[in-house]
């Protein structure tokens, strides 16, 4: 069971992620892309009279099974067999985060920022509620996320996907360097 509680190096986890692309194609002619499930759930739950949400979402229900699987995978890897040690980030990363005020670098997420009580502070609201909103809004606007554009699209050598991936990173680098320190100092 040690293989399940220990973190996997990038050269093990990365290839598994990459091979998911041909596995989905060969087993069902499906294209890897996670963010479209957010649209599907909206279409199933609260479509209203919005034309973008009134479509045959059941046709793509395979993807809901796939993300259900991701949730179970997260449960096995994070809840049943969590890594007992903190994520092995570099010294320098740890120093940067400590300088921004973090004290606890254990777990997958900083629990001092991501907890129910923090939700009612401006800091927590910005990180979880505003951050989450931007993930859902931005990925649909871009018509894909790290999996659909960053992996499937790049692997299919599609230049709009390269542009999307560069934009994901540009946005992330900007916020991580210049906005997050401000939020953490609130």
């Amino acid at each position: 069971m040690e293989i399940l509680s220990k973190p996997w190096p990038w050269y093990v986890a990365g290839p598994i992620i990459g091979l998911t692309v041909p596995a989905l194609l060969l087993l069902g002619n499906k294209r890897l892309g996670v963010s479209s499930t957010l649209r599907q759930i909206c279409a199933a739950a609260i479509p209203g009279k919005i034309s973008f949400l009134n479509y045959d979402w059941k046709k793509d229900q395979w993807n809901l099974f796939f993300v259900g699987g991701i949730l179970i995978g997260g449960f096995i890897g994070g809840t049943l067999f969590p890594n007992p040690d903190p994520v092995h980030i570099t010294e320098n990363t740890a120093r940067i985060l400590r300088e921004q005020g973090l004290t606890d670098l254990s777990g997958l997420l900083p629990q001092e920022l991501f907890n129910w009580k923090a939700l009612f502070s401006l800091k927590g609201f910005l990180l979880m509620v505003v951050g989450g909103f931007m993930v859902g809004f931005g990925t649909r606007y871009a018509r894909g996320c790290t999996s659909g554009h960053g992996i499937t699209g790049l692997a299919a050598l599609q230049w709009p996907s390269l542009l999307a991936t560069v934009s994901f990173f540009a946005g992330g680098i900007f916020v991580s360097h210049f906005v997050l320190p401000l939020i953490l100092s609130l």
């Binding site: 992620i17 041909p22 957010l38 995978g73």
Partner: protein, 136 residues
């Protein structure tokens, strides 16, 4: 029952995301600060391997197990690729999660990320509602 195979593939995918720490907020900050090769190594093995598989699938006209020809529809350029892409990037750095990890973080026991997930749903809903007001 036909959908069961996708559930299994999802479990493997989610396990690789979690154990590979791509769902870790700390790893995401490290990546955006260019402090470690870890996440780049992740992408630099995933993407070429997927590309190589696609190359062979095309080259040898391999069909899916149901005998369907495999086609990857091309993603056309629209301005949302850049504008939406930037907005998603902002959110990625704040939450430490792209959509796949959103699901994995909930399963990983960080139940408060259910709120992040619900916010992501509302973001998608608001985009859908006002889709035609945004430059495309």
């Amino acid at each position: 029952m036909n959908n069961f195979k996708y559930l299994i593939l999802g479990v493997v995918f989610g396990l690789a995301l979690t154990k590979g720490e791509a769902v870790s907020w700390f790893r995401i900050q490290e990546m955006f600060h260019f402090e470690s090769f870890h996440m780049y190594g992740f992408f630099m093995t995933a993407v070429p391997l997927a590309a190589l598989s696609l190359f062979f699938i095309r080259k040898m006209s391999i069909r899916s197990i149901d005998g369907e020809p495999i086609v990857i529809p091309s993603k056309a350029y629209h301005h949302g690729v850049i504008i939406g892409g930037l907005i998603f990037g902002f959110g990625w750095a704040l939450t430490g999660a792209c959509p796949g990890p959103l699901y994995a973080q909930i399963g990983g026991g960080y139940l408060v990320t259910l709120v992040t997930f619900l916010s992501a749903l509302s973001g998608t809903w608001v985009y859908a509602r006002f889709k035609y007001s945004f430059p495309d």
